[in-house]
């Protein structure tokens, strides 16, 4: 209650008649009515009953009107004028009611007649009335009751109407229903069409606010109709296509295209015959709002025809915009989902196709190629005459076979590089010499083409580490390329050094390429169109391979080219070996490997040159014979081992001359290695050699089942029978004593080779078969040692035949120290492997280069027919891709689950980060959102991490990610990052792996997919957040009174989750006699139905409190009302009427938990009298009433059961807990106490039912505002004295407060008078449980406390300070405020 009005306004002079004094304004207008002209006559002659009725009417703050007498003459009060009558005031006063409400007389006339004829009151809930009060026909809703008025004789002569206008509530509920329905299914992603159809279904259900709607989506500058409600397709007002550039378009699409909304008047021929929605007249205006898209042009726009019976106010506009927002976010969601889906599928498909292509091509091409080139060689030998026509055709096949082989090998190289399986062997070489030698291979071809070949390769100061094979391919490709495109001038090869690098340059004066094409030169499969060249053949893959190979060497290659001038390629390789993987570096140059590489390049190049019908094989072969390699016609391969170089050369020469393919090594150990790598047809070995002699070599070869059958011819200088026997006993196949004749040597060789061939025919077929298997093949002995493998085995694991046997623990087992889990998987599988006859396992293993490979192995036990021992034969295939595909699926599923469970945006993000951390076993995952603030918002797997606390390096990484392409991962040594869209701005995410662990392309694909998914989930969570806010705002709008009386505090909290409106409410009603009605209720159920029941009961209860004498009667009347409202049964209500002056409270409870009173002495009391059944259970039954007087400084708590009810706990425990919280906070200011109680009682996971809470502290604070005049002191003192009386203070304390406040007021008056006349002084007094807080505020400035001793003002401050416990005087620019505090004992 406020005393401000009474004290502030001063008593107006009473009107002459004294009849209309209840309200000065309406009273004055009533006085002005020409009463004698009405049937009522002059007021002096009115009966006492009319006097009484009018004064009740005028003094009420609740909207009321009444009609009296034969013409039902109209009266109303100020509240009715404000809420309902509008512009009809004051015209309506004194007029016949039929005239005042002519537009609704059809509705209300019959009701009034019923009241007058039967004397029974009527009741109408939320009746729709079209009022003309604001200058247009307005849709309004009223809840009202007509009750009879009787004259002095007791006859019914009029009626009183108590009205509560509910327009805001009804319309608010209706709009909220639409918005909620629109957002009702945020978790299900739909296609764009489904989103639009869903939205249309929801919009169509509200044809009151949206008589018709049209949804247009932009396609460039064209807008297409994609949805409509309330209007037939094909209607003139719903064109299928609009142009944003057409100024005459029916709907101004250009405006929403620019992001603006516009109101369109619906007049003109195009808008004739518009549908009316739920009304009888068509709409006259439409609002066109854009469907906004974050950071881009709008998706489209929504045309919303407007309810002609409502103003387009902020609420209406907000509703249409929120509706459009819902549709826009639905479209955004669907589009980004579709795009994401497409991208993920494309990525996965590309990846699959690539892997499949490269792995298939190797085997599919290589096997037939081998079967072509092998027999071809034989045929070419048979037709040795170069002029033979057959021979020439065979040569064509041969050359093209070589080309095809070269292409396949190149592709295989790519496949190996991509899979990380390229096995390099970096050895120190004289790069200048090696390069010059390679160049010399091309010399004849270049010169034959008429070009100058300039090779400038001075020796370099230090060696360069290269893999010979790779280097050869690089240089040959560049040379071949140069020759192909150069017609005049020269080709130049140079080697030099610069900046710590060896620099190799291959330059030509050829056709060159356009500048724009230069950056694409190294692109795979990219060919320069229309370039003049010697041949149209080419795969466009050579230069790309060169770039990859140079990259493996830690080097770089660049190209410069200009059209018509020429092209220069420059390779830079670092000196030394620090940049190369240590395990692949050898410190000594190995034996000169046979260069089989050059052949195809040169043969191909020669074919480009003109005027040479039969390319001379002899010439080519002569040029390519860079090592001790004979004509490749011979079928048999012979390995020569001798430590004497002359002898080695001699043997090589005679064997090569006889057509054998010869490999020469310098000792037994090398011979052993060479045989294990590839078994020859015959080994010719000296007996006396360093490291491993011939006899030992024989016994080692025989001791290994893989080499046991390789025939060996021993040569010895030691003559004599025993030496020979010794050799043969050791297992040699033949023995020859030096010196020997070449013919005899060759005869022995031939005999042994042929013998061995017969013997090993079967074995060769077997190994050819095994090698052609696409699956890896292996044989294990009884101990589990791997004793035989094929090529695929070496490809998949990186361990080749040279390392056989591989004994357990096999080198490909995962390291137990760094990955115990994987190690155990393999170890378990191995145990099973040894113990079972057959089986199959999928296990992780480690490739020789360290990368992880998943294999599925199948095995069977078998018996070796030669030895009779049991062996295990198995195959396995690389299932890494499948494994990761499954892992991807489950990671996506886990992330989706996490995202769908999140109820807010921050929760969604932090949950997802946790998933990512677990997935990659990362040290930490951090996300930074670059939103509007200056500092990015950080979320991390470590709690409460802030941007400033991140290491500078990490901040830089995250900031750099901002400029990357979204959803495209970036991997570094210690982690990986990705950029994605967060609703508040770009989000940079970093996964810190914490160690040098490879983040493979599989991982990157997975991260890309997860990031896309995450972005999607965040948008969804963001929508849920927005919907929650909307729901709460709307619920609060339809709940509770607009203005709370002084001394009250309230709270409403919806249940979490699912966040829904509910059926709980609180209410306060100011009754005409100054008392206050208080209601807290709880309807059964939740959701919109419960809210709607709640709204009706709340309105009814308000109206009934005004009519009925007490809470029990109110509830009984409410029983009858509730019986007619579906869903109202069993609603519980606590209804009370409070006299704020005395603290007297009467109350009744319809099945509701008891109110709690915390008293100032620390005791608690329950309001558990007046209890009876919930509403409508037994209508008509009497209800009891309880009474109590709230002691001074006590606090009353009313609540709905959501506050105290918990599962598996008696209700009384919850009530006790609430009482305790209330008691503890009885000294806290009321509003803080409300927050405190809500927080104290909240379960950890939030309230699972909605909660309404109402607090009142007695007495309510006193608030007085009065003019700065000394005459005001006495009335203010009286008001304060009365209020202090309610606080039950001891008399002397009361006097002290009076004097102290009096002094503060006197000061305020003095200064207010001096500085700003007419300003108000404000006094506020509040009683807490054990202290009083008093505030006096004015608009003037005070003198310093003690200006001149003895002056009474200084004495005043001294008095204040002495009488009160705590005084502060705060002078400010706007005035002075005095705070005083006194403890109450």
């Amino acid at each position: 209650m406020s005393c401000a009005n009474e004290a502030g306004r001063g008593a107006p002079s009473a009107s002459p008649g004294g009849l209309f004094t209840g309200d000065p304004e309406v009273g004055a207008d009533l006085l002005a009515v020409d009463w004698p002209a009405t049937p009522l006559g002059p007021p002096e002659g009115w009966p006492q009953s009319l006097h009484t009725a009018v004064s009740i009417l005028l003094s009420s703050r609740f909207p009321m009107w009444m009609a009296w007498g034969e013409e039902l003459t109209f009266f109303c009060n100020a509240a009715y004028r404000r809420d309902t009558l509008g512009r009809k005031y004051p015209w309506a006063l004194g007029r016949p009611a039929r005239e005042v409400w002519s537009e609704i007389w059809d509705d209300i006339g019959p009701r009034i007649r019923t009241v007058l004829s039967t004397g029974r009151a009527t009741w109408d809930e939320g009746l729709l009335l079209f009022l003309e009060r604001s200058g247009y026909t307005e849709e309004t809703y009223h809840t009202f009751s007509y009750s009879p008025l009787r004259d002095d004789a007791g006859d019914i002569v009029g009626m009183l109407c108590v009205v509560s206008e509910e327009t805001e509530r009804v319309i608010g509920e209706r709009r909220m229903a639409t918005l909620r329905d629109l957002g009702s299914d945020p978790s299900v992603i739909r296609t764009e069409q489904e989103v639009l159809a869903f939205a249309d279904r929801q919009l169509d259900r509200n044809r009151k606010d949206l008589p018709f709607t049209l949804t247009y989506l932009f396609d460039g500058r064209t807008a297409r109709l994609t949805g409509a409600t309330g209007i037939e397709p094909g209607h003139r007002a719903a064109p299928a296509v609009l142009s944003a550039d057409d100024p005459g378009a029916l709907w101004p699409a250009a405006v929403p295209a620019g992001g603006e909304a516009v109101v369109v008047p619906l007049d003109g021929a195009d808008f004739a015959g518009l549908p009316c929605g739920d009304w009888s007249e068509p709409p006259v205006r439409a609002l066109v709002v854009p469907l906004l898209q974050q950071g881009s042009v709008p998706y489209g726009f929504l045309v919303a025809a407007l309810n002609r019976y409502r103003l387009l106010d902020d609420g209406y506009r907000g509703f249409v915009e929120l509706t459009a927002g819902h549709i826009a976010s639905g479209i955004g969601s669907a589009r980004s989902y579709e795009a994401q889906q497409r991208r993920a599928e494309e990525l996965a498909e590309l990846d699959r196709a690539k892997t499949a292509f490269f792995s298939n091509i190797s085997h599919e091409f290589r096997t037939p190629l081998t079967l072509i080139t092998g027999p071809l060689e034989e045929l070419r030998n048979r037709f040795a005459d170069p002029d033979d026509e057959v021979r020439q055709q065979l040569d064509v096949i041969h050359r093209n076979g070589l080309r095809l082989g070269k292409l396949v090998n190149t592709l295989l190289d790519f496949s190996r590089i991509e899979a990380g399986r390229m096995q390099a062997r970096y050895e120190p070489v004289d790069l200048a010499a090696v390069t010059a030698e390679l160049a010399s291979v091309f010399r004849s071809a270049v010169e034959k083409a008429g070009l100058v070949f300039d090779v400038d390769c001075p020796p370099l100061a230090e060696p360069v580490y290269i893999d010979r094979g790779m280097w050869e391919k690089s240089v040959l490709n560049l040379l071949s390329n140069a020759l192909k495109f150069t017609f005049d001038g020269s080709i130049r090869v140079s080697v030099g050094a610069a900046d710590g690098h060896a620099v190799v340059c291959v330059a030509d004066t050829g056709t060159g390429v356009p500048e724009a094409e230069v950056p694409r030169l190294f692109e795979r499969f990219h060919r320069i169109e229309n370039a003049r060249s010697r041949s149209n053949e080419g795969s466009g893959i050579g230069l790309a391979l060169v770039q990859e190979l140079v990259g493996l060497h830690g080097g770089s290659i660049t190209a410069e080219s200009s059209e018509g001038v020429g092209t220069a390629f420059t390779i830079r390789l670092p000196f030394g070996s620090a940049h190369l993987p240590a395990e692949s570096v050898v410190t000594e140059a190995g034996s000169t490997a046979a260069s089989v590489t050059a052949d195809p390049y040169v043969v191909e190049a020669m074919r480009w040159l003109p005027g040479d019908g039969g390319p001379g094989d002899a010439v080519v072969r002569a040029e390519t014979e860079v090592t001790a390699r004979g004509a490749s016609d011979a079928r048999a391969r012979v390995l020569v081992a001798d430590d004497n170089a002359d002898m080695r050369e001699y043997l090589t020469r005679i064997l090569a001359g006889a057509g054998y393919e010869v490999t020469a090594v310098t000792d037994g150990a090398e011979a052993l290695r060479a045989v294990r790598r590839e078994a020859p047809d015959l080994v010719v070995s000296d007996v006396m050699m360093p490291r491993l002699n011939g006899l030992e070599l024989v016994s080692r070869l025989r001791g290994d089942r893989r080499t046991a059958s390789v025939p060996v011819l021993l040569l010895s200088a030691r003559a004599g029978q025993e030496a020979s026997i010794e050799g043969l006993e050791a297992g040699a196949d033949d023995y020859l004593v030096k010196p020997f004749a070449a013919a005899e040597f060759l005869a022995r060789v031939r005999a042994n080779v042929e013998l061995a061939r017969l013997r090993t025919h079967h074995a060769r077929w077997r190994s050819a078969l095994i090698d052609s298997l696409q699956e890896a093949f292996f044989v294990c002995d009884e101990s589990g040692a791997v004793v035989e493998i094929n090529t695929a085995f070496a490809d998949i694991l990186g361990y080749g035949p040279e390392g056989l046997p591989y004994r357990p623990t096999h080198p490909w087992w995962p390291d137990a120290a760094t990955d115990l889990e994987a190690h155990r998987q393999v170890s378990d599988a191995f145990t099973g492997f040894l113990g079972s006859a057959h089986g199959s396992y999928t296990v992780p293993v480690t490739h020789r280069d360290g990368h992880r490979v998943w294999i599925t192995a199948t095995f069977n036990k078998a018996r070796d027919p030669d030895t009779g021992r049991e062996v295990t034969v198995g195959t396995f295939r690389d299932v890494t891709a499948e494994h990761y595909a499954i892992q991807r699926e489950s990671a996506l599923a886990a992330l989706s689950t996490s995202l769908s469970r999140a109820t807010s945006l921050p929760e969604a993000l932090s949950g997802a980060l946790g998933r990512l951390k677990g997935l990659w076993r990362a040290r930490s995952v951090v996300a930074a959102v670059f939103g509007r603030g200056e500092v990015p918002a950080v979320t991390a797997t470590e709690a409460d991490l802030r941007w400033e606390e991140l290491p500078a390096e990490r901040r830089e990484t995250l900031a750099a990610l901002r400029h990357k392409v979204p959803l495209t991962p970036v991997a570094h040594r210690s982690g990986a990052g990705v950029l994605l869209e967060h609703p508040e701005g770009p989000l940079a995410l970093w996964i810190d792996l914490g160690e040098n662990r490879p983040f493979t392309s599989e991982d990157q694909l997975l991260l890309s997919l997860l990031a896309g998914h995450l972005a999607q989930g965040l948008v969804r969570a963001h929508q849920i957040d927005q919907q929650r806010e909307t729901a709460i705002a709307l619920q609060r709008a339809i709940l509770g009174p607009d203005r709370l009386p002084e001394g009250f505090a309230v709270r409403y909290e919806p249940a979490t989750p699912p966040l829904e409106v509910g059926g709980d409410w609180y209410d306060t009603v100011a009754l005409p006699d100054g008392r206050i009605g208080i209601v807290v209720g709880d309807c059964v159920g939740r959701g919109l139905e419960a809210a709607s029941v709640m709204g009706q009961l709340r309105s009814a209860c308000r109206a009934l409190l005004l009519q009925e004498p007490g809470p029990a009667q109110t509830l009984m009347a409410l029983d009858r009302f509730a019986a007619g409202v579906p869903g109202a049964l069993c609603t519980t209500v606590f209804c009370a009427v409070l006299d704020p002056g005395t603290g007297r409270l009467t109350y009744a409870s319809a099945g509701h938990p008891p109110g709690i009173v915390a008293q100032s002495d620390g005791t608690t009391r329950l309001l558990d009298q007046g209890r009876s059944l919930p509403l409508a259970v037994r209508p008509g039954r009497q209800r009891p009433e309880g009474r109590c007087t709230l002691p001074p400084r006590s606090t009353l708590l009313l609540y709905s059961d959501g506050l105290v009810e918990r599962r598996r706990r008696p209700l009384t425990a919850g009530i006790d807990q609430a009482a305790e919280a209330l008691q503890e906070g009885r000294g806290v200011p009321l509003d803080n106490l409300a927050t405190q109680v809500m927080a104290r009682l909240a379960p950890p996971e939030g309230y699972d039912d909605d909660v309404a809470l109402l607090l009142y502290r007695h007495p309510a604070p006193l608030e007085v505002a009065f003019p700065a005049e000394s005459s005001q002191l006495a009335p203010v003192r009286k008001a304060l004295r009365d209020w202090l009386g309610q606080c039950a203070l001891p008399p002397d304390a009361l006097q002290n407060v009076l004097v102290a406040v009096g002094e503060a007021c006197a000061n305020a008056i003095e200064h207010g008078h001096r500085h700003a006349q007419g300003e108000l002084v404000r006094l506020r007094a509040e009683a807490l449980v054990d202290d009083l807080r008093l505030t006096v505020a004015d608009s003037g400035r005070w003198k310093p406390p003690q200006p001149e001793p003895g002056a009474h003002r200084g004495r005043g401050v001294a008095l204040m300070t002495a009488l009160m416990e705590h005084v502060t005087i705060n002078p400010g620019p706007g005035g002075t405020t005095v705070h005083m505090q006194m403890r109450i004992a």
Binding site: S1271, Q1295, E1303
Partner: protein
């Protein structure tokens, strides 16, 4: 309009001139009290047993005449008189409670 205050001149049983004050004294009416006090000179008994409120404006008036006043009052005003220091300058008598007029 000023706060209600009545001033009744009379004589104390001991013969000293007496002024009986009743009502509330604040800055709106302290002037009338000052006027009444200025009307005479010499010792005066000021009967304030019916005064329900006295603030610093009233006290200032009393301080000006402190040397000639004897106050008769109730415990209600005691804190104000003591805090202001007036009780140290003038004689203050508290008659029997039944003479006091309560609020």
């Amino acid at each position: 309009m000023s706060t209600s205050l009545t001033l009744a001149p009379g004589r104390h049983p001991d013969g000293t001139p007496q002024l009986t004050v009743s009502g509330e004294i604040d800055m709106s009416n302290a002037g009338s009290l000052a006027e009444a006090l200025r009307a005479g000179s010499g010792p005066l008994v000021l009967d304030m047993t019916a005064v329900e409120y006295l603030d610093s404006a009233g006290l200032s008036v009393l301080f000006a005449h402190a040397d000639r006043l004897r106050l008769v009052t109730t415990p209600l005003l005691e804190p104000v008189l003591t805090v202001s220091g007036l009780a140290d300058l003038v004689t203050v008598e508290y008659p029997e409670p039944d003479h006091a007029s309560g609020p």
